[in-house]
Amino acid sequence: MSENKIRVLIVDDEQAIRRFLRVALTSQGYAIFEAASGADALADATAYKPDVIVLDLGLPDIDGVEVTRLLRQWTQVPIVVLSVRGSEGDKIAALDAGADDYVTKPFSVGELLARLRAALRRAAQPKGEPVFASGDLRVDLSRRLVTVENREVQLTPTEYGLLRVLVTHAGKVITHHQLLREVWGTGYEQEFHILHVNVSNLRHKIEHEPARPQFITTEPGVGYRLKTD
């Protein structure tokens, strides 16, 4: 019956939100499943095996971050969390626990759809393409070649490592902790200074206007995101 429709599990205790999400997502061709609580979410995830989960962090029974953790214990299904402005801590915790991306309430449906697509794309290609292209930027991971407007850009090993991680997670948000861990290693999770300096240097090398980056965008208080088209 679903005809290979992509299955989305919407987890939110607000009925109104579930309703409009159902309408919006169905119109985009997704198959919708709804859960109103953390317990239901865990049960439905097992039962319906959705392709992507939209998870509200402010659930009544189990904390959204905890649900993420529990899900990640047995599945790698992409999770996009719905968070409230001001609770940066929760957002970061969810992302660190394994969520792929987030949108802040109130959000526009377009934004959510973009995030869902990005998350799904990642899931579909775990290894990722060897060449990343977006706008004037081209990153060839197999050849360690980075070009902007077809001009090669010289990067330090650290900067390249940073760019590589961003490309691997293209379209998704990566928290500062994750970046530091993946580029510098565990134990460097608090060294924000180094991270920001390197991001700044990287931007100065590959962005048209470093002050208004097109590629490496900042998610305030959370992390960075390499924008895809």
Binding site: R85, E189, F192, H193, H196, S200, A211, T217, T218, P220
Partner: protein, 897 residues
């Protein structure tokens, strides 16, 4: 809201008033009165106490049984408060423990021997004062008293028995007693008991015992006692009749005035007046007239006046001190004004003055028209009076020497000119000396000069020269006249001088008070007022003053305010001040209560109650205040009380004002916010309902347009709510600032990103100094600051006009500037734009909440930075934000791995 909690609850107020009223209820005093020791007063009192014990909480505070077994037996079963042991001069003495009884709070306390004198160092010198304190605390008291210890009867007792009683209880205490029970025993029975050894006689009286316990005496004393009790009973009957509007056989209201003078009879006169007043049921006044002559009173006489005034007050008179030129005039004027019906005055001893009819008594008799004048004789003052130490001798011998010199000079001068002038003219030189001496050295020396002048004139200048004989008898006339004139001039000049002195001292007193009241009127604030008072007291009296004010936090309830660090205020001083405050009486040195304190405490009272206590620390030099000084001090205390009350009122008015303003603001805010919150919803609901409406036909473009409007309005509402929440969080300090090193470039980028479409149409020029360091702060919050500032810049400048963002390092801070080419901000608003809900007043007012910049300020200041606005030369505004630099080692404190 917190403000509402500060308003008192009406129920609580009512309860408080009731408790206060109950506390103010005085206890009742019952006196067991007897005419002599041994009639059985203590026995009767204890019997009554045992009766009362059946229904009330009775406690024995102090009873002296003298070892008599019948009396001891009565004590059994009664609770006895242990006595206070005091060591005095090496002897262990026992006194009633007043504080223990007060703490115990019985319904009825038994206190024997009302006239007893307490050991020095006790709170009150006399036991009747202890009893008064118990009464005021609401405790009923039974006590015993012998008739000879009643103040107004001491003279009569002395006449009867020949013994002067040392201890006395003021009539005012007895007048206030609710009940007097007469304990009577026929004299022959008393004598029988004495023989049987059943009567306790204190050793000191043993000497007089033989004389005291004669039958004649006892009969007389008994009659006196019966009469005294009868008078009191009559009082109660009279009050009863009055209360029931039954007219009794008593005369219409009499008012009696007695004149107090410095001489020895005054005390006796006061007692006479007191008896007269009580027999006539009249109000009575004790008046002292201060004349210019008083500057010549000896300290002993001054003290006597004060003592007599106090005596009269203790006996229930209203005491008044009037100033005037002559006693008679002042007294008759006062009598006329106050409807006095009888004046009691003493006979002047000075026969000479009586002869000339200028004695005070004669003057008063002459002047008083409708008033009866009662001339009372006074007995010789009883021998047993302490002689006060003689102060400086009154006659100043030194005043007589300069005039002698003057006279010698005058004589020499006369000698020089006597060949040119007749003797009659030379006398003028001498007259001049008389006048000069009278002005500068007083009456005595000028009289001396006068007499000497006559003699010298006769000797040197009247023929025959150098003898006292007189050739021409007409000169005798001159001598006599000269003498008379000289004496008159002396007298008058001295008088004038004295009046001038008196007037001057009065003026300086008034000037001091005026000065103080002006200072206090000009001063604002409690501390300044207190300082003004203490400074003024120091200046006028040379004494340090400490003001005690109520303080809810301190355990005594009063806190001393003192500027001078040398002045120590110890526990004793504070305790005395507390007592003064509670009982609203002048206490301390020179008064009846706590006479050994090192200060005198004045309650600062106004019509509404006591606001504090002023303590004057007495040095060794000043041990007593004159009547004038006491008056001045009391006036000071009144001024101080009013000034302090005024500052308290000012405080209350201010807080009331603030409360009112705050409430007004809150109402205005609520109105404004509810309007702002509703307005976007109007559009949203309007649009959505239009889309729902069946009858409305819309084409795609129109529909898309409507939906866009609704979307924008909804976003605006979101924005407003976000701002309100931020403001609330900033206010309640619930804002969590997690600090990290932040890249300024990153911040600007993120801010512009967030502004999205709004920033697309604007050229934004970004310029950062080389090597701009990171700032230390919360990334998200600082982005918000920049978003708000940029949004403002866009809002208040024409579309398409450029906005410049720059950053540089200054000292330990990073400075970020956002400059626009907009309309600018009026000069006076440059600081106010950072206030909450502030919107620059303009006819083309741009829509907004007025919160954006206030939030920026809150966030920036929470980081330890600052934000300012200034107008740009050439038009536009520059907003400058400074934030602390993140050095290499900066870490968020909580983020240590």
């Amino acid at each position: 809201m917190a403000e509402n909690d500060s308003r008192p609850n009406p129920d609580e107020l009512l309860a408080q008033v009731k408790t206060e009223e109950e506390q103010k209820k005085r206890g009742k005093l019952k006196i067991f009165l007897g005419y002599c020791a041994g009639v059985g007063k203590t026995f009767a009192m204890l019997e009554a106490a045992r009766q009362q014990k059946k229904e009330k909480d009775v406690v024995v505070a102090y009873v002296e049984t003298h070892g008599r077994p019948e009396t001891d037996a009565l004590l059994a079963g009664l609770e006895v408060v242990p006595r206070r042991r005091v060591e005095y001069r090496g002897v262990m003495l026992q006194e009633m423990d007043l504080d223990a009884v007060l703490a115990r709070r019985p319904r009825l306390a038994i206190v024997d021997e009302l006239a007893h004198t307490n050991v020095p160092e006790s709170r009150h010198p006399k036991r009747y004062q202890d009893v008064e304190e118990l009464i005021e605390a609401g405790i009923d008291v039974y006590t015993t008293l012998n008739v000879q210890h009643i103040e107004s009867l001491r003279n009569i007792v002395m006449q009867i028995s020949g013994v002067w009683m040392h201890e006395a209880v003021p009539d005012s205490v007895i007048d206030k007693a609710a009940e007097i029970e007469l304990v009577d025993l026929p004299p022959d029975e008393l004598l029988k008991r004495l023989k049987e050894g059943k009567v306790y006689v204190p050793d000191e009286a043993a000497r007089a015992a033989a004389g005291f316990f004669r039958e004649g005496n006892l009969i007389a004393l008994r009659e006196l006692t019966l009469r005294t009790a009868a008078v009191r009973v009559d009082d109660r009957l009279r009050a009863y009749l009055q209360a029931h509007a039954i007219r009794g056989p008593w005369p219409a209201a009499e008012r009696i005035l007695v004149c107090i003078s410095p001489n020895a009879q005054s005390a006796q006169l006061v007692r006479t007046a007191r008896m007269l007043a009580s027999q006539l049921y009249a109000e009575w006044f004790a008046v002292y007239v201060e004349t210019p002559n008083d500057v010549r009173l000896s300290p002993e006489e001054r003290n006597r006046v004060l003592d007599n005034l106090r005596l009269a007050e203790r006996m229930g008179a209203k005491t008044v001190t009037i100033r005037g030129d002559s006693v008679a005039a002042a007294v008759t004027e006062y009598s006329a004004k106050n409807h006095i019906t009888k004046i009691v005055i003493g006979k002047t001893q000075n026969r000479w003055r009586r002869l000339f009819g200028v004695a005070v008594v004669d003057q008063i008799i002459r002047r008083s028209k409708q008033v009866d004048v009662i001339v009372a004789t006074a007995e010789e003052k009883p021998v047993k009076q302490e002689r006060a130490a003689l102060g400086m001798p009154f006659i100043d011998w030194r005043a007589y020497l300069p005039p002698l010199l003057l006279i010698a000079v005058a004589t020499l001068l006369g000698h020089a000119v006597h060949s040119y002038f007749s003797p009659a003219n030379i006398i003028m030189i001498y007259l001049l000396c008389v006048v000069v001496t009278a002005v500068f050295w007083g009456f005595g020396p000028s009289v001396m000069v006068c007499i000497l002048s006559v003699l010298l004139w006769d000797f040197f200048f009247v023929n025959p020269h150098l003898t006292f004989a007189v050739e021409d008898t007409q000169y005798i006339f001159a001598f006599v006249t000269l003498l008379l004139v000289g004496l008159s001039i002396s007298y008058l000049t001295t008088r004038i001088r004295q009046q001038t002195d008196a007037a001057q001292s009065r003026e300086s007193e008034t000037a001091t008070l005026y000065g103080l009241s002006r200072t206090l009127a000009a001063v604002i604030g409690l501390d300044s007022s207190v300082r003004a008072i203490t400074d003024s007291t120091k200046e006028t009296f040379g004494l340090d003053a400490v003001i005690f004010l109520p303080d809810a936090q301190s355990k005594e309830g009063l806190k001393p305010h003192v500027d001078d660090p040398d002045v120590e205020v110890g526990e004793n001083e504070t305790a005395a001040a507390v007592w003064c405050f509670q009982h609203q009486k002048v206490v301390g040195h020179g008064t009846d209560t706590l006479p050994n304190a090192r200060a005198r405490y004045f309650p600062l009272s106004t019509a509404r109650g006591t606001v504090g206590v002023m303590a004057l620390l007495l040095t060794g030099a000043t041990s007593r205040f004159t009547a004038q000084q006491t008056r001045l001090l009391e006036a000071y205390a009144d001024l101080a009380a009013v000034a302090i009350e005024r500052t308290q009122f000012a405080e209350k008015a201010r807080s009331a004002e603030i409360l009112e303003t705050t409430e007004k603001l809150q109402t205005a805010l609520l109105n404004s916010i509810s309007h702002d919150l509703r307005t976007p919803l109007v559009s949203v609901i309007g649009v959505l309902s239009s889309l729902q409406e069946e009858g409305i036909e819309l084409d795609d473009a129109a529909r898309r347009n409507l939906i866009q409007v609704a979307r924008e309005e909804a976003e605006r509402l979101n924005h407003l709510i976000t701002n309100l929440l931020d403001v609330t969080r900033l206010e309640s300090a619930a804002l969590r600032v997690s600090r990290q090193p932040c890249d300024v470039e990153d911040i600007i980028g993120a801010a512009l990103e967030q502004l999205g479409s709004r920033s697309d149409t604007r050229p934004v020029r970004i310029e950062f100094a080389e090597g701009l360091p990171f700032v230390f702060g919360d990334f998200g919050l600082i982005v918000q600051v920049l978003v708000n500032i940029l949004e403002n810049a866009f809002k208040y400048s024409p579309p398409g006009s450029p906005v410049e963002v720059s950053g540089r390092k200054t000292g330990n801070l990073v400075e970020i500037e956002v400059a626009d080419r907009g309309v600018g901000i009026p000069e006076q608003d440059l600081l106010r734009i950072f206030d909450k809900f502030y919107r620059v007043q303009r006819p083309d007012s741009v829509v907004g909440t007025g919160l954006g910049l206030a939030i920026c300020k809150g966030i920036v200041e929470a980081h330890g930075g600052g934000i300012t606005a200034e107008n740009r030369p050439g038009g536009g505004t520059i907003i400058r934000v400074t934030l602390p630099v993140a050095d290499e080692g900066s870490r968020d404190a909580g983020a240590r791995a």
